[in-house]
Amino acid sequence: MATPKPRVKLPKKAKAGETIVIKTLISHEMESGQRKDKEGKVIPREIINKFTCEFNGKPVFACDMEPAISANPYFEFNAKVSESGKFKFTWVDDNGSVYTDEAAIEVS
């Protein structure tokens, strides 16, 4: 499997108190652990099991993920911004890897 690659999209600028839309997507196979290979052996589960989003160190959104979630999980959510700062996104893989991405926003 190729290395999972996170992508995020949010506006670069916003007005104080504005509600913005944040979109995230990460490439990942989300192997459920329910499938078998050609020899009949179970393919071990390997999914992204946790996703979090923080703004200037404060939690904005977080969720656990389960094996029924499709490949390349996509999240879209809203956040109200009152100050300039940085969003930090984290995805936790079953294999222990952690993938992160960041995006700055300027609030006027």
Binding site: A2, K9, K23, L25, S27, M30, S70, A71, N72, Y74
Partner: protein
């Protein structure tokens, strides 16, 4: 009601004995009943319009001469609202991951001659612009039509000293997607005047209308005769190919055109021709022509 009658007659046929012909008859009756049922349920393609990254897509085009319908309709019009929305937003479209991977391959040196695609073709957004909208094309060397996949293989073996891709390898799908993506929005148009393209078109047309498999279905049985009707939960489209390779939720990955056609043939319970065989290339020529005027939507998103 149609369903009950068909099942009832099927049950009569099977109660007579266990001979194979009767079993096949039952099977055929079941298939007919599915389509009979579909006739009762009408669904309409959406009237929404599709815009991707500010580019207006042509999802309804006037039919080319000799086309059975008045209008050529993109498969996008037949899908659920959520599926349509995923394609309309290039950020949420998971097929864009294949485009990104394709761009990496484009710039990666492979083979004994130390070249990448970019070594000769430079910036794909210029050199490959609109190119994918006009395949399959006549290949004078091979004396047959070739599609984008085969053109890539030709380049790899002849100019890069690299091996041809294995059919449906991830890299083949990603690079094909990347190249066709450079034509996003461009209307499909193939040139039938080159070489023997016309005779391949004729052959493809014959295949399109030939019933095959245990279920005795032709391409036209679903995509022409029952187009716009429901077959169980599936809204039958015109079977257009303008969005291939396409991202399917079904498999959570990119699906190539020849893989998709083979899937259809498998579902009729017929023997599947090999990818890039004469049979499938002829069908690709004909089916691509049927989508004349639609925008290339690669990577499209389907169920």
């Amino acid at each position: 009601m149609g369903r009950r009658r068909f099942f009832a007659s099927g049950a009569d046929a099977s109660s007579g004995g266990t001979n194979v012909n009767k079993k096949l008859l039952l099977l055929a009756a079941a298939a007919v009943s599915t389509i009979g049922l579909a006739r009762l349920v009408q669904a309409e393609p959406t009237t929404d319009t599709l815009e991707i990254d500010g580019k207006q897509m042509i999802t309804r085009a006037p039919a080319p001469e000799g086309y059975p319908f008045k209008e050529v309709l993109s498969g996008w019009l037949f899908r659920e609202a959520e599926t349509r929305a995923t394609e309309a937003d290039s950020f949420s479209n998971p097929g864009m991951l294949a485009v990104e991977r394709g761009e990496e391959i484009w710039n990666t040196v492979e083979g004994t001659m130390g070249k990448s695609c970019a070594s000769c073709h430079n910036d794909a957004s210029e050199t490959m612009k609109d190119v994918g909208a006009h395949y399959p094309k006549w290949d004078a060397d091979a004396k047959r039509p070739i599609n984008v996949e085969l053109q890539i293989d030709k380049c790899r073996t002849e100019n890069m000293g690299a091996e041809a891709y294995k059919f449906d390898s991830d890299d083949q799908k990603a690079l094909t997607t990347y190249i066709k993506y450079q034509s996003l929005g461009t209307p499909v148009k193939i040139d039938l005047s080159q070489g023997d393209m016309q005779s391949w078109w004729d052959k493809g047309k014959t295949e399109y209308y030939t019933r095959t498999g245990q279920l005795n279905l032709s391409c036209a049985s679903c995509h022409e005769v029952n187009m716009d009707k429901m077959i169980r939960a599936d809204h039958l489209s015109q079977g257009q190919v303008n969005g291939f390779p396409t991202y399917r939720f079904n498999t959570g990955g990119m699906v190539s055109l020849h893989n998709r056609i083979r899937g259809c043939i498998r579902d009729t319970r017929a023997e599947m021709p090999k990818a890039f065989s004469d049979e499938l290339m002829a069908l690709e020529v004909y089916v691509t022509w049927r989508g004349t005027g639609l925008s290339v939507e690669t990577p499209s998103v389907r169920q």
